[in-house]
């Protein structure tokens, strides 16, 4: 959220208040005033007042009357201090401590489809290891003709590929099977990011080792303290699994697996093993902890799905949302993100009445395989309450289900893969609340 000037805010409130009942107006003004106080606290309190008095037209602002810092004052650049509130956040009570835990990306503040490296959601099971790339090795063995060990230098000699792919934790939204309880987009959908990943197709590396005909599965293993391990069928590996060392133009961040990780495009994030150190080829899956005790989907009848790899089509509206309330009646671009693990997003529909009636939205910008895709719907808001929903469908014809449909099929104890249509309640004040419609 950018910091609006006081004048702008007062104008906004006055405009909006005209559409409100007397009671609503009192409430909105109270909130508006506290928002101003909050805005001042974001910058330094002293300069906020100074800005108002001297930095607006017709005055020449302070930054136009003095010099700024020179080159390499920040050898590795960081965002403006006015954007300091845009960062990953966690919900501490979800996990016992921070070493084996998760944080969410600030989706409400992100633009386009690429997640900046410092804002990609985090998920660790034994914290972030500090790996010296010179001492990192990738071992490939098992049902192969030539077991091999690669250095990072070896891996970076292979012809590289760069692909834009989303990565999503299958527990994204998993806190809301029973009811809504996350009061912000960052917490309802933030276990989701999208980067340009650079590396080598795993198939190329397996060809070097020579997979034997009985080789039907691989085990991918991390080198961190968790030694996270997942079984992946060979068909996926031959299709599009990547071994990557870079994201968004620079080497992987330590949080994202530096110096090497797997990317299984469109599949649950847990399979994209970070700090990758070993690939074993076998004839059967291993049924390790992360594919039995965890990352299996318990159904109402007590049975459980396993190897639920694909992230099915999903979408969410990012403007408006709890963090981005509607500040002013009039034109609004309803915007959001859609994604599917089965290929490309074909379209997104928008509902303003909680799913009774739908209208098609426009896809905008790049529409890529297994990547976040932006959608947009331009309309006017005149202060009326909305029950805003988005519904994505993909090129396979799969349509994002309603919460009722998912619950009917799976019950409420699945934890993972909750991709149901999400509802934001836009109140007459412009505030946005997380609600569920069944």
């Amino acid at each position: 959220m950018t910091t609006p000037s006081t004048k702008e805010l007062l104008q906004t409130m006055q405009d909006a208040a005209e559409n409100l009942s007397q009671n609503d107006r009192r409430e909105f003004l109270r909130k508006g005033v506290s928002y101003v106080a909050g805005a001042a606290a974001v910058g330094t309190a002293g300069t906020a007042a100074a800005n108002f008095s001297s930095n607006l037209p017709p005055n020449e602002p302070i930054w136009g009357r003095q010099l700024g810092r020179g080159v390499v004052a920040n050898p590795y650049g960081v965002p403006s201090r006015f954007e300091e509130h845009v960062h990953r956040r966690t919900v501490p009570w979800l996990t016992a401590e921070s070493i084996s835990s998760i944080s969410m990306s600030p989706l409400a503040d992100l633009k386009g489809i690429i997640t900046p490296n410092g804002l990609v959601f985090e998920r660790y099971h034994a914290g972030v290891p500090e790996i010296n790339p010179d001492e990192h090795r990738l071992m490939i063995h098992g049902l192969v003709d030539n077991p091999l060990i690669f250095t990072m230098e070896d891996l970076m000699r292979f012809p590289s590929v760069s692909e834009i792919r989303f990565i999503e934790c299958p527990a994204n939204g998993g806190m809301e099977w029973r009811g809504p309880q996350m009061e912000a987009l960052q917490f309802t959908h933030g276990m989701l990011s999208c980067c340009e990943w650079t590396g080598v197709p795993l198939k190329v590396l397996l060809d070097e080792a020579g997979v034997q005909t009985e080789g039907k599965w691989i085990l991918a293993e991390g080198g961190d303290g968790a030694h996270m391990s997942r079984s992946i069928p060979i068909e996926k590996v031959l299709d599009d699994t990547l071994v990557v060392y870079a994201q968004n133009g620079e080497m992987l961040r330590p949080e994202q697996g530096y110096p090497l990780r797997l990317i299984n495009p469109g599949w649950e994030g847990n399979t994209s093993i970070k700090w990758l150190r070993r690939i074993e080829v076998g004839d059967k899956p291993w049924h390790h902890r992360e594919e039995t005790s965890k990352y299996t989907d318990l159904l109402a009848d007590g049975r459980a799905r396993r190897f639920t790899f694909v992230q099915e089509a999903n979408s969410v509206i990012t403007n408006p949302c709890p963090e981005n309330p509607i500040k002013k009646p009039g034109f609004i671009e309803i915007e959001g993100l859609a994604w599917t693990g089965r290929g490309k997003i074909k379209g997104v529909d928008i509902s303003f009445d909680g799913g009774i009636n739908w209208q098609p939205a426009q896809l905008k910008g790049l529409v890529l395989d297994k990547a976040l895709t932006r959608f947009s719907f331009q309309t006017k808001w005149t202060g009326q309450p909305w029950l805003l929903q988005s519904r994505a469908y993909d090129e396979t014809g799969y349509v994002q289900p309603t919460l009722s449909q998912l619950r009917e099929s799976r019950g409420v104890n699945s934890i993972y893969h909750k991709n149901s249509i999400h509802t934001w309640q836009v109140q007459p004040t412009g505030e946005v609340k997380n609600v569920q419609i069944t």
């Binding site: 106080a37 501490p92 921070s98 091999l148 070097e208 030694h227 739908w358 449909q405 419609i437």
Partner: protein, 343 residues
């Protein structure tokens, strides 16, 4: 004029020949070194349900009890019931269709091998890969015993582990999604009279950053732990009538010795995992009540325990906290830092 294109053509031809060689060799680049049997053996730690990968050896629950209590119970509870938010390991049979299923080794896990594999690769949490195969067999046997899968004196071995079946094995099936089908209806899709709207619970998500005055819970685990400790102190104070003790962090920090200053970064990188949260019974830095007796033993004892490891009724610490990469000096400095900031 005439020579240059010739040279150029020769270069191209050479490149084509090289590329042709690579093609003929089945796209092989020849990068990477052969992995020796010894190198593979060191890293090949995975176990499969059919027992493939199990090291030769055995163990039993009677021998595992003491090891479990020393190494595992701090988080998983003496009976596998779980402490705080740490995983529950035992019990929960018949709860999978309940409103709140309890998913444990006995009630949910499909294979015994997973238990051995996971303990070996990831546990104990603060010091993964520190257990001997014997310890892994013993602790695996003990957890199976807690779940009433095997008897206390059953000798679990590489010969019989794959034959120990868990009760829930048959209840898993391979992904058959898409399951929920939603036709792409555009108009009058729901009956407004039957629609139910549920509002969010408030106060369970940290939203203080955009809702002024929101009664938001803590935004970090550290703050959450402090909040819970504070609530617990207040609860106890209500029962005992004693006043809640002032937070130790409020006191002005005393000047740190040179060793302690050097130890701060070591502490942050290696020790804070346990000593920041109290994991595995570790005394929390800044908690003077937890440190007073330890400090009274003298620096030499504390340093000796940190370097050599410590297992007692109060907690467990592997040598150097499992960070064998740290020098003795670095660990010693970290001890000074922790002791001096916990007086």
């Amino acid at each position: 004029m005439f020579k240059l294109p010739n040279v150029f053509a020769a270069t191209l031809l050479g490149a084509a020949l090289v590329a042709g060689t690579a093609q003929a060799d089945g796209h092989k680049y020849g990068f990477g070194a052969p992995a020796s049997a010894e190198e593979i053996a060191g890293w090949d730690i995975d176990i499969r349900p059919d027992g493939l990968g199990l090291p030769v050896g055995s163990g039993n629950a009677m021998d595992g009890e003491a090891e479990y209590e020393a190494l595992c119970a701090a988080c998983h509870g003496v009976f596998g019931e779980g402490e705080g938010r740490w995983p529950v390991l035992a019990g929960g049979e018949g709860t999978l269709t309940d409103e709140r299923p309890i998913k444990t080794v006995g009630s949910y896990w499909p294979y015994t091998s997973t238990l051995f594999d996971y303990i070996r690769r990831s546990m104990p949490f603060p010091a993964p890969m520190s257990l001997t195969d014997q310890q892994v067999y013993n602790i695996t046997a003990y957890v199976l015993y807690l779940n009433e899968i095997i008897e206390e004196d059953f000798e679990l071995s590489n010969e019989n582990l794959a034959t120990i079946r868990l009760p829930n094995e048959e209840n898993f099936f391979v992904d058959d999604r898409p399951d929920a089908k939603n036709p792409r209806c555009m108009a009058d899709c729901l009956n407004p009279d039957e629609m139910m709207l549920a509002a969010s619970l408030s106060g369970v998500t940290p939203i203080g950053h955009f809702v002024e005055g929101a009664d938001a819970p803590a935004g970090s685990h550290e703050a959450q732990h402090e909040l819970e400790a504070q609530k617990e102190a207040e609860r106890k104070a209500e029962i005992t009538g004693e006043e809640v003790q002032a937070d130790h962090g409020d006191a002005a920090p005393a000047a740190l010795s040179e060793a302690a200053q050097a130890g701060e970064s070591v502490y942050n990188g290696a020790c804070a995992v346990c000593h920041g949260s109290g994991l595995a019974g570790a005394p929390k830095v800044g908690d003077s009540a937890a440190w007073v007796d330890r400090i009274a033993q003298g620096n030499d004892v504390m340093i000796q325990n940190a370097l050599q490891g410590f297992a007692g009724s109060t907690g467990v610490m592997p040598p150097k906290g499992g960070r064998m990469d740290l020098s003795d000096e670095a660990v010693t400095n970290a001890v000074h830092f922790m002791a001096e900031t916990s007086r």
